[in-house]
Structures are given as structure tokens and as C-alpha cells.
């Protein structure tokens, strides 16, 4: 039995939960560190007006002029998604999150996953074989647990395979649950549109031109005809449309992170004081992971401002590290990159992606590297000749981001 838990408009629901003045109002989320003018989350009220993730602000203004613009907080959504994952992992190890709900659709060419342009948060579970009554009971228990742990309402689809459970969950409103009886998957899927399949836009156009608009019509076609049209993918589409999805649910690997928070008695503006506080927090965290023989792969710095707002920045380290000095230096650079428009009332440092130390064979004959001072001299000369705006140093910020241009940042070299 596969259980699909769906929370519609996950990012905006989290925002609404933590910010009650947004309740019942149409609003959109814009990621301050993401692409400008592109929205990354939509509230349920704005969704009903036709606003979707990936639209531009100008489009939103035309469709839903009353929509408020709110700065997205990906870290908060990330944490809520992790909390939910942990809650579900209490029932079974086989728990998997679909596309992280706070990210935009995977590709413009590929049809987005079901509900992806509405920001749905989706989790799959495989609790093993169970009878119908047991499954319905499990769905009710899950909904209560999710409500208790995260204060969120969820829709739950249950079926013998992933795709059918996903379609069932997508057709429900929050607080509802539906079990697709075994061996009736094909009949259940038949009336749903063929666009729910993971097809490219061009493939969807071909299906539409051939009059294949529903999953039922597609399931009725011979495999050879679909293979002629789409190659190997044709058979895969037919299997999904017939409710014979064999994709397994992956095992949950607990997320390892260490977090330290410091609330400041009086809001602070001074960079030196902030760096000292960050250094003290990092020292404690680094000592903890060093004692356990672990290293951190990523860092997150969150500053709570005096006006109640948050500024968050994350970075993936090139080499895992547990050195307090090294981590403090990186966090100080991250602090310089934040646009703080008010005094800081609280600081949170998170060492993320903690892994065990692995022994590594160093090269016995290291390649000759250019002396750093010599490079600096050349750089100084180049900058003097051509100007600092033409030279950049690259920095990897999110190696797993969906779009290649979001994975790195180019930093202009300093004129001095």
C-alpha cells in the first residue's frame, strides 16, 4: 500500500501559519535571494484567482491585483518539510518527499509534476501490505499526527502504487482521504486528463492532436502504437495510465544538523559584535561535531531583525569541515552578503549535512601550485589595466539547485 500525503500550497500555508495577519488574504511569495520578479509561492486564495508559481509579478498584478507580495522564507519551509518527514518516519522507514515544495517546477520543457506549479508539498509512504479498513484508519491517524506536529491540514490518497495514490491525493481537498480499491486502479484513473503523466509539452501536444485526452483513452491503446509515437517512454506511459506504476518509495535517511541560537538583549548593529557572537556559537557547534568525529557539509545563517523580519543565507561547503575558525570565517563572509536594514535581535547558526569523517589518501606528489602572492600581484596589475568589473571569483552556493545558473555565484574581485 502506498500512502500519498499532500499539503496544497505548502510554502504559503507555512507562511500563513506563522503570520496570522495573512490569513484569508491572497498573497504571493517572492524569494529575496532567487530570480527577481518571479514568484515562488502562492496562497490558496490567490490560486483560486489563477495565479501560479513561475509567473512574473506583472502577470500576477494583472490577474489578481489584490495579492500582497511577501518575502519567502525558504529556510522556514525547509524546516517544516523536515519536521513533517520526521513525523511520517515515525510510522515507517520508507518515506520520501517529492520535489521539495518550496522550489519552482523542475523544467520549463517538461510538464510540471502534478500540482508543482501550485506549490504542493507531497510525501509518499509505504507502510507495507494492509487491509482496506486498516489503511483508512492509518490515513486518519496520519492526518491527526500532521495536524498536531505542524498545525497543517493534509489530503491523503491511498492506492497500490505511487502514481494512483498521487492522482487520488491531488483530487482531494485538505482533511479528506480516499482509498483506491485494489485492482480498480485503471477504472479510477480513466477519467483523469492525460496531462497528469510526466510528458514533455510536445508529447502532450501530439496526444491532444490524436484525441488522447484522458488516461482511460491512453490505457486502451496498444503498446506498439505508443512505442511508435514515443519510443520506450510509450510503454511507461501506458503502465502509468493502467495504474501499474512500480516506482518504489525510497528509504528515509534522517537529516543531520546541529543548530545554535542566541537572542540578543539589545538589538545590535555593529558587525564586530555580530561576528563575535557567530564565532562563539560556531565554536560550540564545531566542538560538538568534532567530539563525534563528524564534519559539516553546509552552513545556514539566520538573522532575526528588530522589526521581526528574518534574513537567511545558506552555503554548501566545497570540502566538509569541522574547523571552528574556518566555519566562522565563512559565516562572517555570509554575514557581509546579507542586506540588513535593521538592527539584529537574534542569531541562528546551523551546521547542516553532517557526515562522518572519512580517511582520505593525500597525494604523495602534489601538483605544483602557483604562489598566492604572485597571483595577487598579477590580479592587481590586471585590475589596474582593465578595471575590477571585468574579473570575478566563482563560489559554489547550491550545487544541487535545479537550474545551473543558481548553483554558483560570481563575486567581483576587490580593486585593492
Amino acid at each position: 500500500m502506498i500512502v500519498c500525503v499532500r499539503i496544497p500550497a505548502f510554502g504559503s500555508v507555512i507562511e500563513e501559519r506563522d503570520n496570522p495577519r495573512l490569513h484569508g488574504k491572497p498573497f504571493i511569495l517572492v524569494d529575496p535571494n532567487g530570480p527577481a520578479q518571479i514568484i515562488s509561492g502562492v496562497s490558496i486564495d490567490a490560486l483560486s484567482s489563477g495565479v501560479r508559481i513561475g509567473m512574473t509579478l506583472r502577470q500576477v498584478q494583472a490577474i489578481c491585483p489584490a495579492a500582497q507580495v511577501v518575502a519567502a522564507n525558504p529556510a522556514r519551509a525547509h524546516r517544516a518539510a523536515d519536521d513533517l518527514m520526521e513525523a511520517l518516519a515515525g510510522f515507517t522507514d520508507l518515506v520520501e518527499m517529492e520535489v521539495p515544495p518550496y522550489r519552482p517546477p523542475r523544467s520549463r520543457r517538461l510538464q510540471p509534476a502534478i500540482g508543482a506549479n501550485e506549490g504542493d508539498g507531497v510525501w509518499f509512504m509505504n507502510p507495507g501490505r494492509m487491509r482496506g479498513e486498516q489503511a483508512v484508519e492509518l490515513a486518519n491517524t496520519l492526518q491527526e499526527t500532521i495536524l498536531e506536529r505542524t498545525c497543517l491540514d493534509s489530503a491523503i490518497g491511498l492506492a497500490a502504487n505511487r502514481f494512483t495514490a498521487r492522482v487520488a491525493a491531488a483530487s482531494l481537498m485538505p482533511r479528506q482521504a480516499f482509498l483506491v480499491p485494489r485492482d480498480s486502479e485503471r477504472e479510477f484513473l480513466a477519467p483523469y486528463p492525460a496531462a497528469l503523466l510526466p510528458v514533455y509539452a510536445e508529447q502532450m501536444r501530439q496526444l491532444h492532436m490524436l484525441g488522447i485526452d484522458t488516461l482511460g483513452t491512453l490505457a486502451g491503446l496498444p503498446t506498439s502504437a505508443l512505442n511508435d509515437l514515443f519510443g520506450k517512454q510509450g510503454a511507461a506511459f501506458k503502465r502509468l495510465a493502467e495504474g501499474r506504476d512500480t516506482t518504489p518509495v525510497l528509504r528515509y535517511v534522517p537529516h543531520k544538523a546541529e543548530r545554535a541560537v542566541q537572542q540578543l538583549n539589545d538589538p545590535v548593529d555593529d558587525r564586530g559584535v555580530l561576528v563575535n557572537v557567530i564565532g562563539a556559537l560556531t565554536m560550540g557547534l564545531a566542538q560538538t561535531i568534532q567530539e563525534r568525529g563528524q564534519l559539516a557539509c553546509a552552513l545556514m545563517l539566520m538573522m532575526t531583525l528588530a522589526d521581526g523580519g528574518n534574513q537567511v543565507t545558506e552555503i554548501a561547503l566545497r570540502q566538509p569541515s569541522a574547523s571552528a575558525d574556518h566555519l566562522t570565517r565563512i559565516l562572517a563572509e555570509m554575514l557581509d552578503g546579507l542586506r540588513l536594514n535593521d538592527s539584529v535581535a537574534g542569531i541562528e547558526v546551523t551546521l547542516d549535512g553532517i557526515v562522518e569523517v572519512e580517511a582520505r589518501q593525500l597525494s604523495m606528489f602534489p601538483t605544483e601550485s602557483v604562489p598566492q602572492d604572485q597571483l595577487r600581484e598579477v590580479l592587481h596589475y590586471l585590475v589596474a589595466r582593465q578595471g575590477a568589473e571585468k574579473f570575478f571569483l566563482a563560489e559554489i552556493i547550491a550545487p544541487n539547485a535545479l537550474l545551473p545558473e543558481h548553483r554558483f555565484r560570481l563575486r567581483q574581485v576587490e580593486a585593492a
Binding site: E368, L375, Y381, P399
Partner: protein, 157 residues
């Protein structure tokens, strides 16, 4: 130093190919002349270093620019011999137009076919031919699988 004339370099891919970003400077000049100046400075001042000149788009290398390039390389070639620096020119076109007379080593990289992982392209099979070599024999060739996650391995020697 990577002279990225068309601003198309992906540093994330570069790290996966083994580039150390701490010692990697990206230069984005306005035109070919600016790029040649960068190359000249690095190759002569750094004494030991690698400068990559990447026009990336064939259209950027106009006949006039090609003349400038050949002229700059004619002056640069003897200077490079006195240092440990290396200048690497990427020729985006199918014809070997640039830096022909001055290059110490010319490699011709040809895409033989795409490597597919079910329906997605995961890399390419490249044939590398030694078109010119001052030290060693030219005409040797090797076929490599270059995957898009940065790994490379030899298939046919």
C-alpha cells in the same frame, strides 16, 4: 585564468572537472582585444600559470579579430617558452582557423555520438586527434567518454 568572452562558463561544472576555485579567476572582457591583453599579462607576469582563452561562439571571431589573435600569439609564443605558463585556446569552429602556426600542440576534439541514459543525454563520446605536436608524433587518436557530471574515461586507445 579563464578568459570567458561569451560569459558562458559554468563554475559548478568546472569544480566537478577538478578545478580548484580558490586559484581560478574569471575574466570577462568587452572584446577580443581585452581578452588578448589579459592573456598576455597572465602568461608573462605570472611566470607559471594557465590561461584559457574561450571565444565560445564562432560568430565572435571575426576575420579582424582573427588577425589580432594571430598577431598577439606570434608575440606571445616566444615569451611562453621562457616561462612555465601555458596558453590554451579553444577554437569553437569546425575549421582550424586560429593560432595555427604558433601552437605547440593542437588537439582536434570531435563529437562521435551522444551517450544516453534511457531518454536523457548523460554525456558524449569524443574522439581526440593530435593534429599537431612539436614534441611527439601527430596523428595519434583516442576515444573518450565525457559524461556531463564531469567524469571522463578512456574507451579505445
Amino acid at each position: 585564468v579563464y578568459v570567458d568572452l561569451a560569459s558562458l562558463l559554468n563554475p559548478n561544472y568546472a569544480t566537478r572537472c577538478g578545478i580548484n576555485l580558490d586559484q581560478f579567476l574569471i575574466g570577462r572582457p568587452d572584446d577580443i582585444a581585452g581578452g588578448l591583453d589579459m592573456m598576455h599579462v597572465v602568461a608573462t607576469k605570472a611566470r607559471s600559470g594557465l590561461v584559457v582563452f574561450d571565444p565560445a561562439v564562432e560568430g565572435l571571431v571575426t576575420p579582424r579579430a582573427r588577425g589580432q589573435l594571430n598577431s598577439a600569439l606570434r608575440k606571445l609564443a616566444p615569451l611562453l617558452k621562457e616561462t612555465k605558463s601555458t596558453a590554451l585556446l579553444l577554437n569553437p569552429g569546425t575549421k582550424p582557423q586560429m593560432a595555427m602556426p604558433h601552437a605547440g600542440l593542437r588537439l582536434h576534439v570531435e563529437n562521435v555520438g551522444w551517450i544516453k541514459d534511457e531518454v536523457y543525454v548523460s554525456g558524449l563520446r569524443a574522439r581526440v586527434i593530435v593534429a599537431k605536436a612539436h614534441q611527439g608524433r601527430s596523428g595519434q587518436q583516442v576515444e573518450l567518454n565525457i559524461t556531463l557530471n564531469g567524469r571522463m574515461w578512456e574507451v579505445v586507445a
